[in-house]
């Protein structure tokens, strides 16, 4: 992820958070051979056009940045580059998929090091998927109306019992056990930023924690391995309780 500041710093510093400087994104793309993702503001389709022109591999239409449009997310279908979007529950996920999102990530509450919102959101998404299996034709039509999406999409999720796109988890993962928790709850991968960079200022510690979180995500049912990689990591980021965040500063509520 090409980002000027991790969510924890965006939260601390306040102000308007925008797409990163193209120069920084160029530098990151030149430095690595793996795919690079960059964030655009919700609804800011010109930031997305710019990111696509720069050649980034994926765009995250992210609530971590300050939204640019209070009514519309980016119409993602005309783009060549794939998008990932955040969601708190199934309806939000399906609306983003209808707009052309190629990946979904449960939102959590970015930059807090607190897993509670991530758990709430992944549980809401998976419970929503399970609920669809219990509904008859009329019930599915009513759900499609409630979710404001095409009934064909709702029916396909009801039948397949999974989203038609990959489901990641983000927002508050700070330890290897957090990462494995999200995988056991149904995520297919994790996004971690502040949890790695805010636990310690020392790049050696950051690298160790990043590796441990990757291993725990890969082998998320192997408790012995998770114990092994968690040993001696030191304190995780201090983090924030949800009650400590004023309602107006919650990031997850951005998006509609």
């Amino acid at each position: 992820m090409a980002l000027e500041r991790v969510p924890s710093d965006i939260r601390k510093e306040g102000g308007v958070a925008r797409m990163s400087d193209p120069g920084l994104i160029d530098e990151i793309m030149a430095a690595v051979t793996i795919p690079v993702m960059a964030k655009a503001r919700i609804g800011h389709f010109v930031e997305a056009q710019v990111l696509q022109a720069l050649g980034v591999d994926y765009i995250d239409e992210s609530e971590v940045l300050t939204p640019a449009d209070e009514a519309f997310h980016i119409d993602k279908k005309p783009f060549e580059v794939p998008f990932v979007c955040g969601a708190r529950e199934l309806g939000e996920a399906l609306r983003r998929i209808s707009e052309g999102a190629a990946m979904i990530r449960s939102k959590g509450e970015a930059g807090t090091g607190n897993i509670v919102e991530a758990v709430r959101h992944i549980r809401a998404i998976t419970a929503g998927i399970r609920e669809l299996a219990t509904l008859d034709e009329g019930g599915l039509a009513a759900k499609a109306q409630e979710y404001r999406v095409d009934v064909a999409l709702v029916k396909s999720v009801a039948k397949e019992q999974k989203l038609p796109v990959v489901l990641f988890c983000a927002g508050g993962i700070a330890t290897p056990a957090d990462a494995a928790l999200m995988m056991q709850l149904g995520a297919e991968g994790n996004f971690v930023g502040s949890g790695i960079f805010k636990a310690s200022e020392d790049p050696k510690d950051q690298l160790k924690r990043a590796k441990a979180i990757v291993e725990a995500t890969t082998h998320y049912t192997d408790a012995k391995l998770i114990a092994e990689v968690s040993r001696g990591l030191g304190a995780a980021m201090r983090g924030l309780t949800l009650e400590a965040i004023p309602a107006g500063e919650r990031l997850a509520v951005r998006g509609w």
Binding site: T33, I34, P35, Q52, G55, V56, D57, Y58, E80, V81, P82, V214, E215, T218
Partner: protein, 149 residues
């Protein structure tokens, strides 16, 4: 079968868990191995500037991201004589290309510009594209034809 994905990650984790050594032993003992896309990079003997360990099974030089980034991904109908007359519809995603093949390697398919995108060496198979994304089972059938190791 080594699926597509990101070869830096595949190589790092495979080395970390000791899978590379085991894979080399089993392959040398005759186990068929097929690498698609990132998997083709993983089984190639030579990948210029690859920063992390690879299995190095097949006598190929493979160039990563040879057609560009994610947005340069494409689809093409390939002429694959080993699979019969009907073209094979192939999906290339941030795909590699085979830049050189060793003397024991049989080229199975090339693009119009001459890029090699499928090759076979004994019980080893490499494809630069994703045969699992289209309904056409012919590459899978070819691989099954290699027999058990």
């Amino acid at each position: 079968m080594i699926p597509g994905g990101e070869s830096t990650t595949i190589g790092k984790l495979a080395a970390h868990y000791g899978i590379i050594e085991k894979l080399r032993e089993r392959s040398a003992a005759g186990m068929p191995v097929w690498g698609t896309c990132g998997g083709a990079i993983f089984i190639a003997r030579d990948v210029p500037l690859h920063p992390h360990p690879l299995a190095e099974l097949m006598d190929l030089t493979v160039e990563r991201n040879a057609f560009g980034r994610q947005v340069d991904s494409f689809e093409a109908d390939l002429d694959v004589p080993a699979l019969g007359a009907r073209p094979f519809h192939a999906i290339f995603i941030r795909a590699p290309r085979i830049a050189r093949v060793g003397p024991d390697v049989e080229v199975l398919a090339t693009l119009d510009d001459g890029s090699i995108v499928a090759a076979k060496q004994g019980r080893l198979l490499a494809t630069a594209f994703h045969p699992e994304l289209t309904g056409d089972p012919r590459f899978h059938e070819l691989f099954l034809g290699f027999g058990a190791g």
